[in-house]
Every structure is written in structure tokens, then in C-alpha cells.
Subunit: 195 residues, 4 copies
DNA sequence: ACTTAAGCGAGACGGTACGTCTCGTCTTAAC
DNA sequence: GTTAAGACGAGACGTACCGTCTCGCTTAAGT
């Protein structure tokens, strides 16, 4: 959320974009240094040289603030049609791994999932802004694979995506092992009977 | 943890097990009603009719308290050898799904993940007491499958488990869809070339 | 103490004087109802409808809070020069009796004494703000008496004051008898050879 | 109080006097080290190697415990008839000063007076056991002085004693100056027109 | 010698208040 | 009319003692 509840006709002193930027920058720094749960609005405001109320005016929850601060990090690259089903899915998976492996993105994705029931709004925003575009493009890539006959006609697309996302999440964030070299290949090999 | 550091020969008034039970029961109720992050030691003590110090005497952190309270819910059933590789893995996966689908278990698993950096002890206990026994038995089931020739000799056991755990986690906790009917079958079909 | 350590140029929201007053009022009420030792900061805050932190922000100890709350009660009236030595000392003694007979003042004076080692600051503030002005004016009254020849030239001023204060303390607070009618006259008769 | 409420025919294990002594000794040590208000029953029991319940069994309040622990220190010596009114009163006053100057006695007398309204029992015991014998003997000494004609027939005995006690209290405990050399002489000079 | 009741240490227990912390809101003066 | 500063109510934190209450062990007196 970037606008306050009441956004009337512009009157008085306009909002200072430099302040917004310094708040987002401070958020990123604190995320990096202390993680999500130990990040406090109070701390962010202090580091940004801003008042607490200013932060609350533009972001009503910690989740929203953090998501906007790392928006660039968590946007997952979409897949385009290269004509090669296997290649498309490999790229889609690698995009996912890349994003999940980004330090700040990892922290925030973890937080979004872990606080699902506490702060459902955070997960919703994450899903809508970061996940859905990728997911849509991945759905299309799989559909193209089915259309081409590279994948069985009865392929369960949702399940397929959940295998990809779940496995990548498990390997990159839960187990957190850096050597994810052959990960995308392994996953895709599993999904497309490699010959 | 249920015992103070030094549990020597019985001295002084012994711990009252009814109080322990009422604290753990109150913990479960509050977890169910308000979730992990809104659960407070103070609230648990009040509901259990106990003093705060009594709670702190036996559980030094919220994580330890909650894990012991839901120990039965989060223990994942282990797999035994039925002689049937496919059947063993199906059961292993279903055990996982069953545990992940339990409401209290889900809350605590999310909490363990969310507080990884705050309270690494919590994740450690969860892993050691709930996950590892299952994981060990699953590793053995896969190994038996390899030995029998039901699975390729070069099967990556760790990867295989991460696919199972990741996919189940994604489906049961992240997407949280109740109809997990064919989920275990779908996963195992993927891992064992179904004939 | 009524101001935090650093009271720079006014920045931020200023202290709300109504809250200060309600806290001091609540303090007086609790002092009256339960005495000093059973008065709790928590109770004062609750009765004043204030947060505990607000009380602690302005008064770092119970002693400071209580002393400020009863400042008017414990301030002992000073003596001015009426030209009559005996009259001046009578008035000085009566001022003392009057203050020591005040219910709230008595409670706080006892508390200041009781907590001399715990909270030496409390006794210091009491002495400096309530006792010293009176004592100084009494010293001057005695000195004038000496100068006028109404009192012996070798009068021990400090001793004289200790007789007055000690006797008044003993009668009004320790023995706590209400009929202190002739007390000041008796004391002054002792100190000035009545003719 | 040194005996439990019901002291029937002796049955069971008798009270161990060594434990009583070690508790009283620990009480004295803690009084000396931390004063009255910071002395805790818990701390005394721990230092004495005793259980808390043992302390509570014999002394129901902190005041009673402390008074018994320093009983020897706070007993004020009584005055006997030497035939010399002035001498008797000087001795009576010096006895008072001596007791008030004792470190442990001072701490406890202070506490007894300061906690008058909190723990009236403590003051009562102090008065009855320590003060009254002295006071009675002092009353008699003054009465003898009146009978002999050394003091005016209309001498207010109670007031006279309050001047002595109040002044000594003020000088030895409130102002706490060690040089109380001529104090008794100064007080008695005031009360008996010295010639 | 055996029984038995109290003394005793240890320490668990329900409470209460401590002083600190962070939350999200509210209120000024400054710009 | 937005901002920085920071006061405010709220309420949880983890700790310290309170005074009470079991426990199992010890110690004599009375059998």
C-alpha cells in the first residue's frame, strides 16, 4: 500500500519521495542485519531519520513495508516461449531458484509463508505481485508442452507447479543448502520423463 | 525440555503433574484460538490457573513449551518394512500429509520456521524429535527400494525426500487445500515410474 | 524530579499536564488509603488511567513520585522576623507541628526515614526541599534572639533545633497524640528561660 | 514470638536450638550487610541453611524475627537510684544514647518506627520489651527528683521523657552524627536548670 | 527396639509487583 | 499539511519474594 486511506486532492506540502526511499532503504538494511522478526517499525524509522507515524502513514503493517522494500528482489522472472518445453520449464525453475536464493528475498518469502495466518495480507500481496505472474507464465509453458505432446494430456498442471515450488522452497530456504547446482535439472527430469 | 538442568535424587517438593498437564492443555487451547505469535506465557499461566514462574521453571522459552504441548500432534509416524517399496513410500508420504494436516501441528511448524533465527532451538527440537525419526525410516525405505531394484541405483535419496516433503508442505500448508486425496499417490507415481 | 535528564529545546509532543496531575492525584489517594509501602507504581498508573511507562518516564523511583505528590503537604512554613524572639520560635515550632500532623506528610516522612538506605535520594530531596528552608529560617530566628540578648551568647543553635525537631517528631509521629495544644509552648519554655 | 500457637505436651522431634541460633545469626549478618528493607526471609533462610518454612514456623513476620535477633542490642539499660537526681538522669540518657548508637540496634529501631503503620506489632514489641523497662525506671528517677525537690513539682514527666527520647533519636539516628560527646549533658542541663 | 509425631531441608506452587520493552496512536512545533 | 520528535495507553516480558504447601528424612519421647 503506497497511499494513505484518504488521498484527496493534493493540498499543502507534497509527500517527500526521498523520505519514502530512505525508509525503504532502512528497511532493507535492517532486514539484512537482524531478519524479519527482529525488525521493528520503530527501528526502521529511527534509522531512516523518520518519525514512526510517517512510516505508519504509508505502510499499515510490517509485512507491507517489507514487501515493498524488497519488491525488486522477490519479483520472479517470467518465462517466454522458446519453442522448447523442457528448456522453458528449466528456465522457469531456475528463475524460481534464483529468486529464492536472493538473501533479502529469502528472508521475506520465509516470513510471508511463516506468518500466513498472522498476517494473511502479506502472503496475499506476495502471491499477487511476485508469484502470480511467474505462475501464469509457467502454466502457459506447461500447457504448450501438453499441446506439443511433450507432456501427457492428463498432466495435472497445478500439481506440477506445486512439485516445482515445493521442492525449490524446501531446498533453498528450509534446508538452505547453497549447492543448488543441478536442482532445476533434477526437478525437470522428474517431471518430464527424460529419454 | 521437561526437567530442570539438574535432576538429582528427589529433594524438596516434587513437581505436580496435574499442573504440568493443565499448563500444556492451556497452551494447546491458546494455540488453537489465537495462534503462536499471539500466545503469551502470561495468558497460558492465567488460563492454567498457574503462576508465571511455574511455567518458566519448566519451559524456558515459548518454543519449548509449545513443542511439548503438541508433541503428539507433530510426531510423524515412521514407516516399517512391508516388503513393498511403493507401499512403504506411499505410507511414508501419507504419514507426512496426516501430520501436516493437523491444525495444531501446522501452527507449530509455521512457528518453528518463522522463528528460525530468533529461536533456533525450537527448529532444532522440532527437527530432532518430529522430523528425523520419520526421515530416517524414509531413507531406509528408499534404500530398500534401491536394493530390491524397484528404484534406480543412482537415486538421489536426499533429493527424493525433499521432493516429497516440499510438495506436501506446499500443498497442505502453503496452499492449504483440504482435498489431499490423491496427493500421496501423485507424488509416488512421479518418483517411481509407475508401470 | 519532573523533567527527564536532557530537557533541550522543545521537540516532539509535549508532556500532557493533565496526565501528570491525575498521576499525582492517584498517588495521593493511594498513599492515603494503603500507605507508602503498599503503594505500587502499577496501582498508581492503573488508578490514574495511565501506562506504567508514563509514570516511569517522569519519576524514576517511588520516592520521587510520592515526594512530588505531597510537596504541598510537607513544605514547612518558614518564620519571618516579628521582632519577638519567643514569638518567632513559637511560630517556627508550630509550623513544624502543623506539617508533622498532616496525615500525608506523616506517611511520607516515615517513608523517607524507612528507606534511607534503600533510596537515599528520597531523604535528600525531602531534606532539601522541605526541611532546609524552615531550618534556615529557624537558625536565623535563634541568631536574632542571641543578638538581642534574649538567648545566651553561647547557645548551641544546632542542638536547639534538634531538641525542637526531635521532640516534635516524637510527640506528633511516634507517640502520635493528637492533643499537641501546649506542645510548642512547652518546648519553647524549656529553651528560653521563661520569665 | 518464639513458640508456635499450640504448645501441647511435647511430642515428636523437639525444636533444634542450633537451627534457631543460625537463623538469628544469619538475620544479624544480613541486617548488617543490607539493612532492614532489603533483608528477605528467603535470604535469611538460605544463608542459615534452613528452609523458609522453618523460619516462618517460629517467626511470623520479618519484624518479629529481626527484633528477636537483635534483642540484646536494643535492650536499654535501666537506671537505679544513686541518690543523685542529675546523675540518674544523665545515666538514663547515656543508656539511651548507647543503645541508639549501636549499629544493629539503630537499624532495627529505625525500622520499627518507620514501619509503625505497616507493622504496628513490631513497634509494640519494641516498645514493650526494649523501651518500657527503661522508661519506667526513668519515670521513677524523675519522680524521685520531684520528691527531693530537685525538679519542680509540676514537672510534666511524659513531656520530659519525650524531649530526651526525641532529641537523642534526632541526633543519633536521623542526623547520625557520631560525636555525641556532650549530648546527654546538654539535654539534662536543659531539663534541670543547672546552677 | 518400635512407633509415632513433629522438626527439618528443599523447593514447587499461586500470586503480585517489579522495571523494561515495543506496539500503534496521538499531539505538538517546525518547515 | 506533511514531517520529526516523542508522549501516551496498553500489555507482555522475565525476575524476585511473598507466604503456603508438599515431600522424604531425621530425631527424640513414649510405648
Amino acid at each position: 500500500m503506497t497511499t494513505p486511506a484518504t488521498s484527496k486532492a493534493q493540498r499543502g506540502r507534497p509527500r517527500d519521495p526521498r523520505i519514502q526511499q530512505s525508509i525503504l532503504q532502512a528497511t532493507r538494511e535492517m532486514l539484512d542485519e537482524v531478519g524479519y522478526s527482529r525488525l521493528t517499525i520503530e527501528g526502521v524509522a529511527a534509522r531512516a531519520g523518520a518519525g514512526k507515524a510517517t512510516v505508519y502513514r504509508w505502510w499499515s503493517t510490517k509485512g507491507e513495508l517489507v514487501l515493498e522494500a524488497v519488491a525488486d528482489h522477490i519479483a520472479i522472472g517470467v518465462v517466454s516461449d522458446t519453442g522448447d518445453t523442457r528448456g522453458d520449464l528449466l528456465i522457469a525453475t531456475q528463475q524460481l531458484i534464483e529468486t529464492f536464493s536472493d538473501r533479502l528475498a529469502g528472508i521475506v518469502i520465509f516470513a510471508a509463508i511463516a506468518n500466513l495466518d498472522d498476517d494473511p495480507n502479506m502472503a496475499r500481496i506476495f502471491r499477487e505481485t511476485a508469484v502470480m505472474p511467474w505462475r501464469q507464465s509457467a502454466v502457459e509453458a506447461i500447457q504448450r508442452g501438453i499441446d506439443r505432446g511433450d507432456l501427457p494430456a492428463d498432466t495435472d498442471i497445478v500439481f506440477t507447479l506445486d512439485v516445482i515450488v515445493g521442492t525449490v522452497f524446501q531446498r533453498t530456504l528450509v534446508v538452505a543448502q547453497p549447492q543448488t547446482e543441478g536442482l532445476s535439472r533434477s526437478i525437470i527430469d522428474l517431471l518430464i520423463a527424460s529419454s
